[in-house]
C-alpha cells in the first residue's frame, strides 16, 4: 500500500528531475557550439522541429495507442497557416515573428478539432484506416485549392518581416542561429508541456484507454471523447512543429501534407521507441540522420530503413529507447559484463552480413537507377563493379557467410540475454521479499 502511495506522490522539486531537465536545457543551449558548420546547424534545426513532431505523434501512439497514418496533415496545415500569417506580418500585421509557431499550433488545434471529430469515431485498426483516408483527402484537396496552397510550386514567405522591440534589439531571424534558439526554446517548452500532459488525469486516462478501452468505458469515461481530446492536444503540438518549419524553411509545398511524411513520423517515432517519453527524441535524430545524411550516401536508403524497421518491430518492439533502458537495467544489476563479447560477436558478423547485403543492393541500384554513370562503385571503400560477375559472387558469398555467422552469434547472444533476464527477475523478487 505504501509503495503505491509513494508512486503517486507528487514531488515538484525532485532532484533527478531537476538534473535531467537542466541537462536537457544545457544541451540545447550549447549544441550550436559543437556545430561548426552551417550545415550542422541546419541539421540541428531540423532535428529540433522533428523532435516536437515525433513527440506529438507519440501522444497518439505511445500514450493513447492510436496509430495514425495522417499526422503530417496537422504539421503541414500548421505550416501553411503559419506561412500565410508570416505574409500578413510582412504586409503590416502587428504580431511578432516569434509568435508564428503558436499560430501554427492553433491552426493544428483547429484542424485537429475538425478532422479529429471524424477520425476518432473509431478506435484501433479502423482509426488507422480512417486517418489514412483523411490524410489522402487533405492532400488531394490541397492540390485543388491553389489559392491557399499555391499549387505545385507552393507558397513562400520571409521570416525577417514584422516589427517589435525584440526586433529592434537585433532579433531579426536573419541568421540561422537565431532560428535555432527559437526552435530550442519552443522545443524545451513543448517537451516540458507534453511531459506535464502525461502526468495529468487526462494523460493517465489516455493510458487506460490504450490498455483497456472497455474497462475505461465501464468505469465511466467516454473513450471517444478521450481520443478526441488527445488528437486535439497532439495536433496542437504538431502545429507548433509546422509553424517552426514555416520559419525555418520560409516556404510550404503540398508535399508537406503527403502520406509519405505521415509514414515517416510513424516509422521514426516507433524506431525511437513509443514506450518512453524520450523515445521520439531519439526517433527524430534518426529521422534527420536518415533523411539528410543517409540519403546522401545511398539511393536505397528507404530500403535499409524499411528493413531495419521490420527487424525492430519483430525483435525489439520497444524501439531504441527500450534497448537503451534494458541495457541500463543490466548495468544496474551487474549483468552487463557478460554481454560484452556476445555483443561484439553479433555486431561484427552483423556488419559483415550487412556489407554483403549492401553491396548487392548498391550494385543493383547502380545498374537500375544510375546506369548513366558507369558500373563502378564502392561500398564502404571497397571497390566493386556492378558489371562483373566476380563482384556479385563476392557479395553473395560475404552475405551468406556473414549471415550464418551472425545467426550463430545471435543465438548465443539470445541465450546469454535470457539468462541475464532470469537473474534480474530473481534479484527483483529477492529485493521485494526483503521489503515485505
Amino acid at each position: 500500500m505504501s509503495s503505491i502511495l509513494k508512486a503517486l506522490h507528487f514531488k515538484p522539486l525532485d532532484g533527478v528531475r531537476i538534473v535531467v531537465w537542466s541537462a536537457f536545457a544545457l544541451i540545447l543551449l550549447l549544441m550550436p557550439l559543437a556545430a561548426q558548420s552551417s550545415f550542422a546547424l541546419t541539421l540541428l534545426c531540423l532535428t529540433g522541429i522533428a523532435a516536437i513532431a515525433c513527440m506529438s505523434y507519440n501522444m497518439l501512439l505511445g500514450q493513447a495507442g492510436m496509430l495514425s497514418f495522417g499526422h503530417a496533415v496537422y504539421t503541414g496545415l500548421g505550416t501553411f497557416v503559419a506561412i500565410h500569417a508570416m505574409n500578413k506580418i510582412v504586409g503590416g500585421w502587428w504580431v511578432p515573428m516569434w509568435l508564428i509557431p503558436l499560430v501554427g499550433g492553433f491552426a493544428g488545434l483547429a484542424f485537429g478539432a475538425l478532422l479529429g471529430y471524424v477520425t476518432t469515431r473509431k478506435a484501433g485498426t479502423p482509426f488507422s484506416m480512417i486517418t489514412l483516408g483523411v490524410g489522402e483527402l487533405v492532400f488531394a484537396a490541397a492540390l485543388m485549392f491553389p489559392e491557399f496552397f499555391g499549387g505545385e510550386a507552393g507558397i513562400n514567405s520571409n521570416r525577417t518581416g514584422g516589427s517589435g522591440w525584440l526586433k529592434d534589439m537585433g532579433l531579426t531571424f536573419g541568421p540561422q542561429i537565431q532560428v535555432y534558439y527559437l526552435i530550442a526554446i519552443y522545443l524545451f517548452i513543448c517537451t516540458a508541456a507534453m511531459y506535464a500532459f502525461t502526468q495529468t488525469p487526462l494523460g493517465r486516462i489516455a493510458n487506460a484507454v490504450r490498455d483497456n478501452a472497455e474497462r475505461a468505458e465501464f468505469v465511466g469515461y467516454d473513450t471517444r471523447w478521450v481520443r478526441y481530446l488527445i488528437v486535439m492536444a497532439s495536433s496542437f503540438f504538431a502545429g507548433i512543429a509546422g509553424g517552426l518549419t514555416a520559419i525555418n524553411v520560409e516556404a510550404a509545398t503540398a508535399d508537406l501534407l503527403h502520406g509519405v511524411r505521415s509514414g515517416g513520423y510513424l516509422l521514426f517515432t516507433f524506431l525511437g521507441g513509443v514506450g518512453f517519453f524520450f523515445g521520439p527524441i531519439i526517433g527524430s535524430i534518426l529521422l534527420v540522420f536518415a533523411l539528410v545524411v543517409l540519403s546522401e550516401f545511398t539511393k536505397a536508403w528507404q530500403l535499409y530503413v524499411g528493413i531495419i524497421f521490420l527487424i525492430m518491430v519483430v525483435f525489439a518492439p520497444g524501439g531504441f529507447s527500450a534497448l537503451i533502458m534494458l541495457n541500463l537495467r543490466r548495468v544496474k544489476y551487474g549483468e552487463w559484463r557478460k554481454m560484452r563479447w556476445p555483443y561484439v560477436g553479433m555486431f561484427f558478423f552483423g556488419l559483415i552480413a550487412l556489407w554483403g547485403f549492401a553491396a548487392l543492393v548498391e550494385m543493383a541500384y547502380q545498374i537500375q537507377v544510375a546506369a548513366g554513370s558507369g558500373t563502378a562503385l564502392t561500398v564502404a571503400r571497397i571497390p566493386l563493379d556492378a558489371a562483373s560477375t566476380s563482384s556479385w559472387l563476392i557479395a553473395v558469398a560475404v552475405l551468406i557467410a556473414g549471415g550464418v555467422a551472425f545467426e550463430v552469434s545471435r543465438r548465443k547472444f539470445q541465450r546469454v540475454w535470457n539468462e541475464g533476464e532470469e537473474h534480474i527477475a530473481e534479484a527483483i523478487k529477492k529485493a521485494e521479499a526483503a521489503i515485505v
Binding site: V118, R121, I130, G133, M144, G263, G306, L310, V314, A364
Partner: protein
C-alpha cells in the same frame, strides 16, 4: 445516354477490380484482425510478376503463375514474420505490414526500375467488344469483369460449400473453439493470408495492363481500398462489394463531368463571380473533385453511419 452507359460499364469494371483487392483485405482483416497495410503492395507485385512472366512466356501463363507466386510470398511472410508479432498485438501486426509495404516498394524499384514497365494487354483481348453510338467498350474491360465475377463466384463457393470454407468461417468467429475441435487454426490463417494476397495479385495481373504498371500504383489504390473496407463495413464481403462498385461508378462518372456549382447556381438564377465568398469552392468542377470523392464518402459515412453499409459492429 451514350456517356451514361459507357461510364456505368467502365465504373462497374473499375469497381469490380477494387472489390478483388478489398475482398482479400476484408477476408484477412475479419479473420486475423490484421489490417494488411501491404495489401496494395501485393497487388503491385502481382502486376510486376505478371509483366515479367509474360515477357518470358505469355499472358496466360502469367495469369496463373503470378498469383501463385505472390500467394507463396504472402504465406512465407505470414509464417516467418507476421506470426512472430502476433503476441505483441494488432498495432505491431499493422506496423509490420506497414514496414513490408516500404520494403516491397523499394525492392520493386530495385528490380524493375522507377519508370513504368511496358506491360501490355494480350493481342487476343485487344480491340473493342461493341460500339455504342460513337464510343467503344474494350474487350479487355469485359474480360476484367468476367474474371472478377468468376473470382466472386468461386470465393462464394469455396467459403460456403467446401469443408475448408466452413473451417475458415468457423475460425473467423470462434478461433478457440475451432482449434479445440482439432483444426489447425494458425495454418488456416496462413492459408487465408496467402489467399488474400493471391486475390490482390490477380487484381494486379488484370489491372496492371489495363491501367499502368509503375512503382506508384500501390499507393494509388492503397488508401482507396481502405476506404472501401471502412465504408462497406469492417469485415463484410457484401459491404465491400457494394462500396467498391459505388466508388468505382462515382469516380468514373465524376471524371467525365465538368459541372460545377457555378453552373448549378446559374440555373437557379444566382450569378457567381470571382468576388463571391468561397469562389474557389464554387468554381471547382466535378471532374476536379473526382480524386477526393472516395474520401468524402468515407467522411460522410462515418458521420452518418459509422458502422458502414453492411457493418454489424459499431465500435
Amino acid at each position: 445516354m451514350e456517356f451514361f452507359t459507357i461510364s456505368l460499364l467502365n465504373g462497374v469494371s473499375y469497381g469490380l477490380l477494387l472489390f478483388m483487392l478489398s475482398a482479400g483485405l476484408t477476408l484477412i482483416f475479419s479473420m486475423m484482425g490484421v489490417l494488411n497495410f501491404a495489401h496494395a503492395s501485393f497487388y503491385m507485385l502481382g502486376a510486376y510478376l505478371a509483366f515479367q512472366v509474360s515477357e518470358w512466356t505469355n499472358f496466360w501463363v502469367a495469369f496463373v503463375i503470378a498469383p501463385v507466386l505472390v500467394a507463396i510470398l504472402g504465406g512465407l511472410f505470414e509464417r516467418v514474420v507476421l506470426r512472430k508479432t502476433h503476441k505483441f498485438g494488432h498495432v505491431a501486426e499493422l506496423l509490420v505490414t506497414f514496414g513490408l509495404s516500404f520494403v516491397i516498394l523499394e525492392l520493386v524499384q530495385l528490380i524493375w526500375g522507377r519508370t513504368p514497365v511496358d506491360y501490355k494487354v494480350p493481342t487476343v483481348l485487344e480491340g473493342s467488344l461493341f460500339k455504342l453510338y460513337s464510343s467503344s467498350f474494350p474487350v479487355y474491360r469485359a474480360f476484367m469483369m468476367l474474371v472478377a465475377f468468376a473470382m466472386l463466384g468461386s470465393l462464394f463457393l469455396v467459403l460456403k460449400k467446401t469443408r475448408i470454407g466452413l473451417v475458415i468461417q468457423a475460425a473467423l468467429t470462434h478461433p478457440e473453439t475451432t482449434e479445440a475441435l482439432g483444426h489447425n487454426v494458425p495454418q488456416v490463417f496462413a492459408l487465408v493470408f496467402a489467399g488474400g494476397c493471391a486475390l490482390a495479385a490477380l487484381a494486379g495481373v488484370i489491372g496492371g495492363n489495363a491501367f499502368i504498371t509503375e512503382p506508384g500504383m500501390a499507393q494509388a489504390v492503397g488508401a482507396i481500398i481502405f476506404v472501401v473496407v471502412v465504408v462497406g463495413g469492417m469485415g463484410s464481403l457484401a459491404g465491400a462489394l457494394i462500396a467498391s462498385i459505388l466508388i468505382g461508378v462515382a469516380q468514373t462518372f465524376a471524371v467525365g463531368l465538368d459541372w460545377s456549382f457555378i453552373g448549378g447556381l446559374q440555373t437557379l438564377g444566382v450569378t457567381v463571380t470571382p468576388e463571391t465568398f468561397g469562389y474557389p469552392v464554387w468554381k471547382l468542377k466535378i471532374s476536379q473533385v473526382a480524386p477526393i470523392l472516395p474520401y468524402l464518402l468515407l467522411v460522410v459515412m462515418l458521420v452518418v453511419r459509422p458502422k458502414g453499409i453492411m457493418g454489424t459492429r459499431d465500435e
